[in-house]
Amino acid sequence: MQVKEIMSKEVITVRRSTKLKELLGLFNKFHLFPLVPVVEENSRLIGIVSFRNLIDVFSPYRQEILKTVPFLDDQEEDIFKVELTKDIGNLVIVEDIMETKFVSLQEDTTLEEAFKLMKLHLKEEFPVTDKTGKLVGKIGIFDIIRRVFQEKGVI
């Protein structure tokens, strides 16, 4: 079975230019801040935002650029103590915090392969694209587990 058969096709996406304030507003109603795909006008997938990147807002510099740098002291900002300016919600946009190196699945990936990749990358969700790199859906680990329960006749 392939990913496209069970993935959710309705995905909330944002643009590069989405403001932090809008992003936070968008996910106010959900229990968890999910993995949010960032797409261009033609729905080409260009990045992802997760709660990890929200924490980066508290840091004075862009984390992603320094990812390759050796010998950095691994210190995280204490988000309870950092002072933020109020207008940061309008100043920071998705492009500033999104990750451009990420794992995505092709829609014809098998479920076994998808499950293996989730375990390997320690991730619970992946965006799904077609051959041209356009976002077509999103698959989570629960989608796969539920499908396996169905196949075994449990539900």
């Binding site: 650029i65 740098v69 050796p70 190196k101 794992v103």
Partner: protein, 393 residues
């Protein structure tokens, strides 16, 4: 002290000395280096000879890991992320110290050209840890800070490339000098470089090919480390550049498939104790006795490296037309020097036993000076550029 006891002591003492030095706002690497000097043969003599002798071995592995990690920078996204100004400034502020230090060592200090070249190459390195620490501490923000961080992020990649080229050239000059035929020198260097790129690329293809058998993070860690050691070992065996082979391994891996970035992330689980050990051993390798003889060498090195960094940034800034306040002070923010410079110096020490100790001692001594004063210069630069938002009292 036996070797295992020494290792245990180094790890624990390293951890707590880093915490201590953090209180007075210096990066952990400075603590490791000073700890190494303290427990080394020259002062307390707490390390076993076996451990000191393994420094070359450890630094080859650590530099292999670093080169591999920096290799992932060479993607289109990364270059788009850091932007054109950073690209130009970083290239010039790395190349200019190389040229200036090489020329000054050759003409003023009358060193053989291959020695001057090694000094020059090491001079191009910077130490991002110290710079980032200052930026964090003073909550610096703005275009100057962005460009500064971008430059330190890519700078070490240029340094490793420059050092690899210089090392190849120096070896060819030093070991084939009986034949003054310049083409022979170029030929030997080219083999070392092109061979390394082919080796790295080939191993990256193998690593991608067999990665479908990897199922868990633990396996991935073993797999990645295995391939890095394989590359490093083969490069040493075939007399190719260890740095370029590993860097290209990383570059090809990330460009074949974006999801290969897991290869890089998984190494974070084990690199810190190795880095700690590397710095302490670098400090322990310092021969205090040689310090007396390096006064003028050290001064020339510091003067021309500082000039190179400053003029390089100004020049790069002119090319990409950044504001005056940015290009004028950027060089001052790039002065700290640590891990990559020490690693290169350790390689020089093991590859050129006769002059290596002098090179290494000079680099350790100047590193200590740069690590203590560099952060102050970075702070001054940020202040002058008007990007320090919080003033500490």
């Amino acid at each position: 002290m036996n070797t295992i006891l020494g290792l245990g002591f180094i790890l624990i003492a390293g951890l707590f000395s880093a915490r201590l030095i953090n209180k007075i706002k210096f990066p952990a690497v400075t603590a490791y280096l000073l700890l190494g000097i303290l427990i080394g043969p020259s002062i307390l003599n707490l390390t076993s000879q076996e451990l000191i002798n393994s420094s070359g071995f450890i630094s080859n592995i650590v530099l292999g890991l670093i080169a591999f990690g920096l290799g992932q920078s060479f993607t289109r996204e990364f270059f788009r992320n850091i932007g054109r100004p950073v690209l130009w400034i970083s290239i010039l502020e790395a190349v200019l110290p190389w040229v200036l230090v090489t020329l000054s060592f050759f003409f003023i200090l009358k060193q053989p050209f291959y020695v001057a070249l090694l000094f020059g190459a090491i001079a191009s390195a910077t130490a991002p840890a110290a710079t980032v620490m200052v930026v964090r501490e003073y909550k610096a923000k703005g275009r100057f800070t962005d460009i500064l961080l971008g430059v330190v992020a890519i700078d070490d990649a240029w340094c490793l490339i420059i050092f690899a080229l210089s090392l190849a050239l120096s070896k060819a000059l030093a070991f084939h000098s009986s034949n003054t035929f310049i083409f022979k020198v170029i030929f030997h260097s080219l083999i070392e470089i092109v061979g390394a790129l082919m080796l790295g690329g080939l191993i990256a293809c193998f690593a991608t090919l067999f990665s479908k058998f990897i199922r868990t993070q633990t396996e991935l860690l073993i797999y990645t480390l295995g391939f890095i050691l394989l590359t490093t070992g083969l490069a040493i065996l075939l007399h190719l550049s260890v740095l370029l082979a590993n860097m290209f391994l990383g570059t090809v891996l990330i460009n074949i498939n974006k999801s290969n970035l897991e290869f890089f992330d998984v190494l974070k689980l084990i690199d810190s104790p190795l880095y700690l050990l590397f710095f302490v051993l670098a400090g322990a390798n310092l021969e205090i006795g040689l310090l007396k003889g390096i006064g003028i060498t050290g001064i020339i090195y510091i003067f021309f490296r500082t000039t190179g960094k400053t003029v390089g940034s100004v020049w790069g800034g002119y090319i990409v037309k950044v504001e005056d306040r940015i290009r004028r002070y950027l060089g001052l923010g790039l002065l700290p020097q640590a891990g990559v410079a020490l690693g290169c110096a350790l390689i020089a020490k093991s590859d050129f036993p006769e002059v290596g100790s002098m090179i290494f001692t000079t680099i350790v001594a100047t590193t200590v000076i740069y690590e203590l004063f560099g952060p102050l210069c970075t702070k001054y630069a940020l202040h002058k550029a008007g990007e320090i938002t919080i003033e500490h009292h």
